[in-house]
């Protein structure tokens, strides 16, 4: 835990804080169907054209059921579209490597994965997918699934801020405006910047480089290797939105650890910042909409607190390294460098891992599987908490708001009133929907994992035994259900069983969460907005922040204590206190 790390952390948190308000203000006008932005002269014609093209009446708002149906239908159609693209990539253009069609279960898994904003990758991008598949089949989702997430969060915030309203906005308008005014311009800027750092952006066939030191591989068969294939492709455009939209699906199999995707320290720093940028601004948007800016900052502070706590543990664990390696003569000062890019080192790997799992991004610049047990526990726990620490774009905010609703309900009674959140009474229906959202995540993660760990198909892909193997499987289903997409790896997931069960975990985690949340939004919108007074439950200030963090840890984390104890925690003690080898 060196000084450069602390300086970088301060810079990271400071920049995030500084950007939250300006982008939050901008978001407020983007997310208002009639809002004015400085990009109107350029983009309004496109917006109008799109409305005319799809005959969207921008004034017509939807109730929550209509909103949910629109979102689901849109997701289903785009899912089928991507499935078709992957299955037909051999006959589609932009396939200089001549890749064949993707197998049915992998195509299903991948299409689901991108539609749900998960970007779980059972494939290696550069060895499986054509440029067309990457750009059209997948990057499309990087935009629209991110926009859908933001749209749901917006709908929920509208529910909170409206007085006795029937509608929560129009999904189609939200979808168009979020893409047009927010994601496209930001991605363009970031992509151009990334190109300046050396991220490639081309349609060239893969290059072949002659190795200076040819060598002989011994497995699976003895072969002499004299050339290396270097993958090419339109990466910058995909990398920008993969971060900004908290998608995380890398162009390359190595994701952000690959020098073409993440060439410089500055590119690395900005990519991490890009992950938190929109989720962080959404808290400002929340405060603005509920006319309680301090509440927005309180939510932001709770997120920052959880982020810093997670990061500190992970960073500390990675810096401390593995005592068994030290016993073999490895310098303890180096920390645990296994599975890390030397370019990034301990701090930037720990920070990236924390950020990518706090948010539902899932891009990685190091091998989470190779982290120390406690270092690896943090990304896993972050995902299991529901990725509410800034979280996915939109998904982080609505996940957090579910916890806020539960917090207000659990502790709100203690001020001697029926629990009330920013002027909305929290009643049976709201509790039911919030509890349902959390219950589904837990059911999916624990259910699938429990099934997998006692099944041959689940254990077949496992490269490690014992507690670490358990961590690998629970990480996979947590990541899929949480729509994160990062992998602990160490588990070969490209098998029909795992592809299919993981795909269902992704679908459950996305849509069975979104529907109750939209129902919550609709129900909240219907309620009267009660005037705030001295007697109202305080949703600002230190007490609230502590309470919220406490609820997230107790309600969210306690559920996973048993399985985490059997996985990373036991592994930690085995590593530090015994000589047992698995």
């Amino acid at each position: 835990m060196d000084m450069y790390g602390w300086i970088q952390l301060a810079l990271f948190a400071g920049l995030l804080l500084a950007l939250t308000k300006p982008l939050g203000v901008y978001l407020a006008s983007v997310l208002d169907a009639g809002g004015k932005t400085f990009l109107d002269p350029v983009l309004q014609p496109c917006e109008k054209l799109l409305y005319r093209l799809f005959s969207i009446k921008s004034q017509d708002e939807q109730n929550w059921q209509q909103y949910a149906v629109s979102l689901s239908v849109f997701s289903l159609v785009s899912l089928l579209f991507s499935y078709a693209v992957l299955r037909l990539q051999h006959v589609l253009p932009l396939n200089p490597q001549g890749f064949g069609p993707v197998s049915p279960d992998l195509a299903f898994n991948t299409a689901v994965s991108f539609t749900t904003n998960t970007n779980w990758q059972s494939y290696g991008g550069e060895s499986t997918l054509s440029y067309f598949s990457q750009m059209v089949g997948l990057t499309l989702h990087n935009f629209v699934s991110a926009a859908a997430g933001i749209a749901v969060a917006t709908a929920l915030v509208r529910g909170l801020s409206r007085h006795s309203a029937r509608t929560i906005g129009c999904f189609w308008v939200d979808l168009v405006r979020i893409n047009l005014y927010l994601l496209l311009p930001l991605s363009l800027i970031l992509a151009v910047f990334l190109v300046s750092q050396g991220v490639v952006q081309n349609f060239k066939p893969y290059a072949a480089a002659k190795l200076l030191e040819p060598h002989t591989a011994v497995a699976p068969a003895i072969t002499n290797i004299a050339t290396q294939t270097i993958a090419q492709g339109p990466m910058a455009s995909q990398v920008a939105i993969k971060m900004l939209g908290t998608n995380g699906g890398g162009f390359m199999n190595a994701n952000a650890a690959h020098p073409y995707e993440n060439p410089t320290p500055l590119a690395n720093f900005l990519q991490m910042l890009a992950i938190f940028l929109i989720p962080s601004s959404l808290t400002y948007y929340l405060g603005r909409m509920v006319k309680n800016q301090r509440h927005g900052w309180a939510v932001w502070a709770a997120m920052l607190l959880l982020f810093l706590a997670g990061l500190t543990v992970c960073w500390q664990a990675e810096s401390a390294g593995n005592p068994r390696m030290h016993a073999l003569g490895v310098n303890p000062l180096g920390g645990n460098m296994e599975g890390k890019e030397v370019r990034f080192g301990i701090f930037n790997s720990a920070l990236f891992a924390t950020v990518t799992t706090d948010a539902s991004c899932g891009a990685v610049n190091a091998m989470h599987d190779s982290f120390t047990p406690l270092g690896g526990l943090i990304p896993l726990l972050n995902i299991q908490l529901g990725e509410v620490v800034f979280g996915g774009v939109g998904a982080g905010l609505y996940g957090m708001l579910v916890f806020v609703v539960l917090t207000v309900f659990l502790a709100g009674l203690m001020v001697g009133r029926t629990p009330e959140y920013v002027g909305k009474k929290i009643e049976a229906y709201d509790v039911k929907m919030s509890a349902l959202a959390i219950l589904i995540l837990i059911l999916s993660i624990l259910g699938f994992t429990a099934w997998a760990v006692v099944s041959n198909w689940g254990l077949a892909g496992l490269n490690n035994q014992g507690p670490h193997g358990l961590s690998e499987i629970i990480y996979a289903y947590s990541s899929a259900t949480g729509n994160n997409g990062s992998a602990f790896a160490g588990l070969t997931t490209n098998t029909p069983w795992l592809n299919t069960t993981l795909a269902f975990a992704m679908l459950f985690g996305r849509f069975f969460m979104i529907v109750p949340i939209l129902a919550l939004a609709g129900n909240l919108a219907k309620k009267k907005l009660l005037p705030q007074s001295e007697g109202s439950f305080p949703v600002t200030g230190l007490t609230f922040v502590v309470l919220l963090v406490g609820t997230i840890l107790i309600v969210g984390a306690l559920t996973f204590v048993p399985v985490l104890s059997l996985g990373p925690v036991v592994e930690h003690f085995l590593m530090t206190k015994s000589a047992v080898v698995f």
């Binding site: 309900f409 659990l410 502790a411 709100g412 009674l413 203690m414 001020v415 001697g416 009133r417 029926t418 002027g423 929290i426 009643e427 049976a428 709201d430 509790v431 039911k432 509890a435 959390i438 219950l439 837990i442 059911l443 624990l446 259910g447 994992t449 429990a450 099934w451 760990v453 006692v454 014992g466 507690p467 193997g469 358990l470 009660l530 005037p531 007074s533 001295e534 007697g535 109202s536 439950f537 305080p538 200030g541 007490t543 309470l547 406490g550 107790i554 309600v555 306690l558 559920t559 204590v561 048993p562 399985v563 104890s565 059997l566 925690v569 036991v570 003690f573 085995l574 206190k577 047992v580």
Partner: protein
């Protein structure tokens, strides 16, 4: 019923409660409480394990776990039975008032027949004479009587009930002390006010309140979550090469699900109603008690609530050229037929000026003009004189011209001081002014300040003019006032506040209060009030003390806080229980995790057993808190939250660590495992 605060451990309540806790084990009745139902099923499963035991788990251990799980369920049942028992004790006292009485029913043809009271039906007429017990709830349609209502209110001083006006209601079970009244019955047997009350305190037909329903949903969700956790844990154990025993898994499950709040939830609700009854307030539903905690606007009648009873005449101020004696005499004449307390106080004041009271019978030629809300004047036409007294504006309209300057001066002076001036006129001549004074009750200002800190707005409502109202409002420290209010203004005000999202509480007694009582979120009718008012409100104050509204709000809040505090405590407990049980479960296969046993519990079985025992005992330990309610201080939400969070949140984290450790020491000291 003269409710007294009962000792928490009254054996007369405790013993039947113990029996009841066993009766409540019936799984069908447990179903309404999902958390405890799961606990009971868990207890059943561990008991079954005793008989179909496999593996090497010691019988003694399984037996103890099973026993303590049953205790957990029994303790929760006991809490509920205690609360119900206390309610039943109240109800029994209420029942005592309904001794078998005979009623003199008047037939349509005018005959009087004696029938048992329980044969009376709505709209029957009865005659009740001095010494008789009033057989049913009803309304006096003829006569006036003094009534001993101590059976209901505990107040020994008799009260006057009379036909017409707002004090015409009589309650079954009270006794007529003097005179004879004719009463129309307003409730069928079993539907009377007392019957509804008995049902409510007995908890037999208790409906869950909205908030309780929401909380039950959350507790059920947590229970399902932990069920999933425990079931999946079995599989994770299999993967890790451990076969967790059913006993231990059930023990962990019961420890994790929120049994503390689940077990005490209904007791808290019943105790809330019970506390109201002890204050002599009957709530018609638990929902009303809950709403009382949510109220943020209190609509307070000036008279009786803010000021002491009625205005009293304190001073005669004669006009120029009028003697004190003339004014006093005219004022007395004008007030003879004015049965309002103000009217009577004028007669009393006149007496102090040497005028003896003149019975109306002595003035056969006099034509009395009674006071009405519309004319706002009373008076007498006697010997060609038209003497009137009343509010300045009304009298001004009557004489059709402005008052002399000195009278106007006196009027202004009195109004500005918060008093009420009445002008006395003889024909067109203004004789002078009577000074009526309001006396604000002591301690109210302080109380209103505390309410303000809690975010509750107080609005005083009065028929007085703005000046008077403002002066009293300032003296009493209310936030707002409505002056010159007519009865329908109350309703309009409530609707307006509600449209803005406020919850409004009010008290009322008159028939014209009924619409407002019905519209308000918490409507407290005075027991002395009319039947219409009582039916419209959702609470009745047996003492007819409007100031009690403040206490009702406090009790409502206290009930909600108790529920929240125990929920927080219950959930915070889980942390310690994990630290007790998880290491115990894993240590067999992974001895390296010993450092996780931070409490230093002596063995795996004693750790599990201690956690289960703690989980059961904490319910018993918290019963007094659930029944009494947490300590309540009227402070702002921020302070209240921080304080309760420190006590129940932090306490909930820390207490079980200590508790489980102590139990573990005892369990080992006595070699239970």
């Amino acid at each position: 019923m003269a409710a007294k605060a009962r000792s928490l451990f009254d054996t007369a309540i405790m013993l039947p409660a113990v029996v009841d806790s066993f009766r409540k084990l019936n799984p069908f009745s447990m179903l309404k409480n999902p958390v405890m139902f799961v606990t009971e099923v868990g207890a059943g499963i561990t008991t079954a394990v005793l008989f179909i035991r496999s593996g090497d788990e010691p019988v003694g251990f399984i037996l103890q776990i099973a026993l303590w799980l049953w205790f957990t369920v029994l303790f929760a049942n006991f809490a509920e039975a205690m609360a119900e028992g206390r309610g039943k004790a109240q109800a029994n006292e209420l029942r005592k008032t309904r001794t078998k009485t005979l009623a003199n029913r008047i037939h349509e043809n005018g005959d009087i027949e004696q029938v048992p009271a329980d044969q009376l039906r709505k709209n029957n007429m009865v005659i009740i004479s001095a010494g008789e017990v009033i057989p049913a709830d009803g309304e006096i349609i003829e006569g006036v009587a003094t009534v001993d209502e101590s059976a209901i209110t505990g107040e020994s001083a008799p009260v006057i009930r009379e036909a017409g006006g707002d004090r015409s209601a009589v309650t079954g079970g009270t006794r007529v002390l003097s005179d004879r009244i004719k009463v129309v019955v307003t409730a069928n047997p079993g539907e009377s006010f007392l019957d509804r009350m008995i049902n409510l305190v007995e908890g037999a037909k208790r409906q869950k309140t909205p908030n309780e329903i929401a909380l039950t949903i959350l507790l059920s969700a947590l229970t399902i979550i932990f069920l999933v956790v425990i079931m999946s844990l079995k599989f994770f154990g299999l993967y890790s090469g451990m076969s967790f025993s059913i006993t231990v898994l059930v023990a962990l499950l019961v420890c994790l699900i929120p049994t503390t709040i689940g077990g005490l939830l209904s007791a808290i609700g019943i105790a809330g109603i019970d506390r109201l009854v002890q204050k002599n307030v009957l709530a018609m539903s638990g929902r009303a008690v809950e709403a009382a905690g949510d109220v943020d606007v209190l609509l307070l009648d000036k008279t009786g609530t803010i000021t002491l009873g009625d205005r009293q005449a304190t001073e005669f101020i004669p006009a120029e050229g009028v003697t004190m004696q003339e004014l006093a005499s005219a004022a007395q004449l004008a007030s003879l037929a004015d049965e309002t307390p103000e009217g009577r106080s004028i007669v009393v004041l006149a007496k102090q000026h040497g005028l003896r009271g003149r019975p109306i019978a002595e003035l056969p030629h006099a034509q009395f003009q009674p006071f009405t809300a519309q004319t706002r004047m009373s008076g007498v036409d006697i010997d060609g004189r038209k003497i009137r007294k009343g509010a300045a504006s009304a009298v001004c309209d009557f004489i059709g011209k402005a008052f002399p300057l000195d009278v106007q001066g006196a009027l202004n002076r009195i109004s500005q001081s918060g008093g009420t001036p009445l002008v006395v006129v003889d024909g067109e001549k203004a004789l002078g002014v009577i000074h009526l004074k309001d006396i604000v009750k002591g301690g109210l200002k302080d109380r209103f300040d505390r309410f303000r800190a809690m975010g509750i707005k107080t609005v005083m409502i009065t028929g007085d003019n703005r000046l008077t109202a403002a002066a009293i409002a300032a003296e009493a420290g209310v936030d707002d006032f409505v002056a010159e209010a007519k009865p329908e203004d109350k309703l309009a005000l409530i609707r307006r506040e509600q449209a803005e999202g406020h919850l409004v509480a009010m008290t009322g007694d008159g028939t014209n209060d009924a619409p407002a009582l019905a519209q308000s979120d918490v409507g407290v009718a005075m027991n002395t009030g009319t039947q219409a008012a009582k039916e419209a409100g959702n609470m009745v104050d047996l003492d007819s003390n409007p100031t009690k509204l403040l206490e009702i709000v406090e009790i409502g809040k206290q009930m909600l806080i108790t529920r929240g505090a125990l929920t927080t405590f219950s959930i915070a407990n889980d942390v310690a229980k994990y630290f007790a049980i998880i290491p115990a479960m894993l240590i067999g296969v992974f001895p390296v995790i010993a450092p996780l046993n931070i409490m230093g519990l002596q063995s795996a079985s004693s750790a599990v057993l201690s956690a289960v025992i703690f989980n059961a005992l904490i319910i018993i330990a918290l019963i007094p808190l659930a029944l009494r309610g947490v300590q309540f201080r009227p402070v702002g939400a921020v302070v209240m939250l921080r304080r309760n969070l420190l006590i129940y949140g932090l306490g909930g984290l820390v207490v079980p660590f200590a508790g489980i450790k102590i139990i573990d020491i005892l369990v080992n000291a006595f070699h239970f495992v």
